[in-house]
């Protein structure tokens, strides 16, 4: 292992841990909130199961608004909210709040798009069996769209890592911030490159896992 990596080993592990924490929270938020929100967007669309212009427009505007904010400003904008729920606006935990918000907005679009690819006939079959909306979602929509949902989550996760690199502004830390601060700002180019290699490996692993899982569960 290159000497400089050994020298910074503890910091690097720490930074990786922070990245995992922030990205983990983002993934959780994406799945627990983004998935329902994206599903709602899909269901409330014109000609869909719960067609509802008002709800669709509102949620759509909300998602777009979050995605319109320069991420840095979103972080600033959310500070009061972050303080409210975490108690402080700095540190890794606090940084997870804007991460979670952006993750929700980001993934919900993927979910909406994946669900739009589900053949209408399958939904019709579900409806003809008297399936409740909940059953249509869990037993048909999600089943039929699952490989797209997994691929979307994979792509999103990689975006979350990218977003997490900005979280240094509120002391979020993380491996990307480490690369920026030690590598870029302190001109340790070799250290920076090693850290980037670590990130590439990390991303590659995530992509590989996502692709494999998505292929495995795709029976179409």
């Amino acid at each position: 292992m290159p000497e400089i990596l050994i020298q910074y080993e503890a910091e690097i592990w720490g930074a990786i841990g922070e990245t995992f924490f922030m990205v983990g929270v983002a993934i959780l938020a994406a799945v627990l909130v983004g998935l329902p929100v994206g599903t709602l967007l899909y269901l409330c669309r014109k000609d869909h199961l719960l067609e509802n212009r008002a709800v669709f427009s509102t949620v759509n505007l909300l998602v777009n608004t979050i995605r319109s904010f320069p991420f840095l400003l979103l972080v600033v904008f959310l500070i009061p909210f972050t303080r409210l729920i975490i108690g402080t606006a700095i540190g890794t935990a606090a940084a997870s709040v804007p991460m979670a918000i952006i993750a929700i907005a980001h993934y919900s679009r993927f979910v909406e798009q994946s669900l739009l690819e589900v053949p209408k006939g399958v939904i019709e079959a579900a409806v003809s069996m008297g399936a409740s909306v909940k059953a249509v979602i869990f037993k048909f929509l999600f089943v039929e769209a699952r490989s797209g949902l997994v691929l979307g989550l994979t792509t999103s996760t990689i975006s979350f890592i990218s977003y997490s690199t900005i979280m240094g502004v509120v002391g979020g830390g993380g491996i990307g911030d480490f690369a920026i601060r030690y590598g870029y700002q302190q001109y340790k180019t070799d250290l920076m490159m090693y850290v980037i290699v670590i990130m590439v490996i990390l991303v590659q692993l995530i992509q590989y896992t996502g692709t494999t899982v998505s292929r495995m569960i795709d029976k179409r």
């Binding site: 019709e124 409806v127 069996m129 008297g130």
Partner: protein, 249 residues
């Protein structure tokens, strides 16, 4: 049992169903026949309001489906099984799960589900295909899964859109036998859309001929019963060698 009153349906400015009235009696096997594009599928889909009529009323089991919504409509649909012309199987569910899910939705007790799924698979001759996925099935096998799925919940009404279009004569006879059986034994009301004269003749006691979105004529008739066919490739050879009449083309 099923009553359509002055039901119409447009797609854009094309009038697919023009003020059709039809009554299907309790326990009847009712046929719908007609040229391609006559409106048979649309009519069938109106019977469980998968297609909402532009005007007219649909009544099933004394409930006006056209006035129902939400939970009530869902409950009404639970007693109406449907076999789709294009099967509409869930591609990511195994054969077993495609059938099990309909049982689950109908509130079938968990432990009986497996038995019932296997029973239905046996009806359609697919016992060994439980763990396969639709993409691994032949056309006829897919259709049989769709039939098993519709039968599984013991619905009171069964809407069948060309249920035997992809099946060979043996399998067709088997499936028709099953339909005849559930009708006789359990009193299930069945509506069959088919272009195969033989299918209609063997089962139906009443037939409506559709043409251009309208009822051309409705006839009562005596079902001829399902023929006994030997499940053996030799059957094909015999039939080919025989100088049979050809009224069914």
């Amino acid at each position: 049992m099923i009553k359509l009153r002055d039901v119409s349906k447009r797609f854009g400015d094309f009038e697919a169903i023009k003020s059709v009235s039809i009554t299907v009696g309790q326990g009847e096997i009712y046929g719908i026949i007609g040229a391609s594009g006559a409106g048979k599928s649309t009519l069938l889909r109106l019977m469980n309001v998968l297609e909402t009529p532009d005007s007219g009323e649909v009544t099933v089991n004394a409930q006006a489906l056209t006035n129902l919504s939400g939970k009530k409509l869902r409950d009404a649909r639970k007693s109406i099984g449907m076999i789709f012309q294009h099967f509409n199987l869930v591609a990511n569910k195994s054969v077993y799960d495609n059938i099990a899910v309909s049982l689950q939705l109908a509130g079938y007790p968990r432990k009986e589900r497996r038995r019932r799924v296997l029973e239905c698979l046996q009806f359609v001759g697919l016992e060994g295909f439980m763990h396969k996925y639709p993409a691994q099935l032949s056309g006829g096998q897919k259709q049989r899964v769709a039939i098993a799925r519709a039968l599984a919940t013991n619905p009171q009404v069964l809407l069948c859109d060309e249920p035997t279009s992809s099946l060979d004569p043996n399998t067709t006879a088997e499936v028709l036998g099953v339909l005849e059986d559930v009708n006789k034994r359990l009193g299930v009301t069945i509506v069959i859309v088919s272009h195969e004269m033989g299918v209609i003749k063997s089962l139906c006691s009443k037939v409506t001929v559709m043409a251009k979105g309208e009822v051309y004529e409705t006839l009562s008739m005596k079902p001829e019963g399902v023929p006994d066919i030997d499940n053996n490739p030799k059957y094909f050879v015999d039939q080919l060698q025989k100088d049979g009449s050809r009224d069914d083309t």
